[in-house]
Assembly symmetry: C2
Homo-oligomer: 343 residues x 2
Amino acid sequence: MATGREIAQLCGVSVATVSRVFNQPETVNEETRERVLRVAKELGYQPNESARALSTKQSTMIGLVWDTDHRRPGWRHPYLQDLLIGLKSALSAHGYHLLMLATSGDAREVGASLADPVGYVNMTRRHHLGGLVLIDSGSDAEAFEAFAQSGVPCVALDVAVDGPKATYVTSDNEGGARQATSHLAALGHTRIATITGPPGNQPSEARVSGYRKALAEAGLPVRDEHIVAGDFYRTSGTLAVQRLLALDEPPTAVFAASDEMAVGALLAARAAGLRVPDDLAIVGFDDIEIASVVDPALTTVAQDKPGFGVAAAKAIMAMITGGGREDPVILPTRLVVRDSCGS
Amino acid sequence: MATGREIAQLCGVSVATVSRVFNQPETVNEETRERVLRVAKELGYQPNESARALSTKQSTMIGLVWDTDHRRPGWRHPYLQDLLIGLKSALSAHGYHLLMLATSGDAREVGASLADPVGYVNMTRRHHLGGLVLIDSGSDAEAFEAFAQSGVPCVALDVAVDGPKATYVTSDNEGGARQATSHLAALGHTRIATITGPPGNQPSEARVSGYRKALAEAGLPVRDEHIVAGDFYRTSGTLAVQRLLALDEPPTAVFAASDEMAVGALLAARAAGLRVPDDLAIVGFDDIEIASVVDPALTTVAQDKPGFGVAAAKAIMAMITGGGREDPVILPTRLVVRDSCGS
DNA sequence: CGTTTCACCGTAAGCGGTTACATCACCGTA
DNA sequence: TACGGTGATGTAACCGCTTACGGTGAAACG
């Protein structure tokens, strides 16, 4: 590992000049600059990031807080991979890396978990992280709020937070749900039910809100018994439909707040001997892989998956360089009409 | 941010003693040790990792090399999320973090891509990474070999590599394929085809090998026209089945080397008016989410998804602390019998 | 021709830890 | 009493980079 000092000696300049060549190139004479760069390249010089971070008190890393909530075992983020792809590539463009912070359960006390946001915040200080990206794992609104208040730049995904240097990015959940429900209404359905996510989950509540608005717009009544609580898991979709079908006036259409639940609903309908979409129309939310392969293929509200990562990266970079708080980002959704809703 | 020096002053000791309290506790008097620890806790002391890394020339981070191969656009790792969960939690247990290294396409030249393993290796030196975990994104055997030869500790997933401090973890692909194929044979099928992954892909080739062995064991002939090349994508499964059905003696069963292709095969069979499993039995590989929800539910070979991450973490930690090369890890697979193969 | 300006560069003091080595008090032993 | 051994701690160099500050010489100015 060649160091700046070695380059300096070979070039007959001081280490300060070498440093300047990389950080404020315009302040050094073109000739010496090129000499330094050439030698640096020859030696395969790689700046020592630890030294740099020690000196500047900032690294080129962003922390990723992603903890599988113990209250929701088995829960999987619907599109983590696309999100990471977007996040990583957008951060790369700024020369930043993503540090997946260790979670709790460590004997050596390096731990941190959503139950203890302080641990994560400590980590960001230890490593001079530029900021934190918070991935929702179900219902961590309170914990996320603590991050936001801590003063470290952070952007939460799918959870609305507020703080001196905090913002969030989320889909237009209300709009998406509204569009989905309206589509069902336009198809002639008058008894449209919905299966919600877990209580307290913000995207879920926005979706319920969109559902209500669509019904109102279509002049349809909102029936409490047509709003049944799920938890985003597939099973809850099945259970919900069983409950709905037992009603005196069962719905002819269902808007599920997640594709997983929509699939569960599909299974329940099939088990009950109903044809989808003829006897029961179903619309989901997310547009995950599964949506296009179930039979009938799921009509669903697609989210801009890589867009989440890109928007998060932009927001965090803006906060790091700008310093102030950024506006929340609401990503547009798109209704993908397939077969499960009829047409 | 309290520093070691502050603690030292408050305790009336030197910084060296403070450092020793955390690194070699046994060498410092119990009384002063407790005093230091108490003050450290009161001040919320967090050791500066940059300084530590600068001094010790090693950080507590492992690099993650995960690049979506440009030759395989749209490719998704079948179970990245579970893998990451396993990896992260196992690394946490050793106090290590996962650094997702930035990929190429950066104006500032920090770049690195699979086409240029050197870039990644440089990154590991810059950041004093303990090692690298290489995630296969299709067919990077050559690039991975370069990593393995570079001398940095690294463990590859699903690609056999060899080097002074390199090893790999993979599933028992041959065994899994063999079991799947044997199961089909035991069901009475005599014309069993297979859809392979992309040429050069090691898991794919091992699966073909297992397929061949199973046929041999069952006393069935291996027909070249029954081995059709796919690329792990769904579409290739569809195409393959179309080709197979056009044969003079079409197969009555198909072993697909990935669930995605199995789903594609399912679609093709359905489109051709065939019933699955009656007219065509299908078995997949991976046991991804989709497998259990398609109709009929897919019989498939399940991989130990979190086990990958855990094994990788163990191997890399062993190489870091031990120094030498570790034995490759072959994870057992498990045949999950559902509906697509008949019974 | 003295003085100011400016581009360029070197000096040196950090940043916050780790650790080889020195120091010192205190003990047991010959 | 002199001496070696031992446990506990301090001293100071070092890791490699950044940057405030000062110095130099040449050009520009009055």
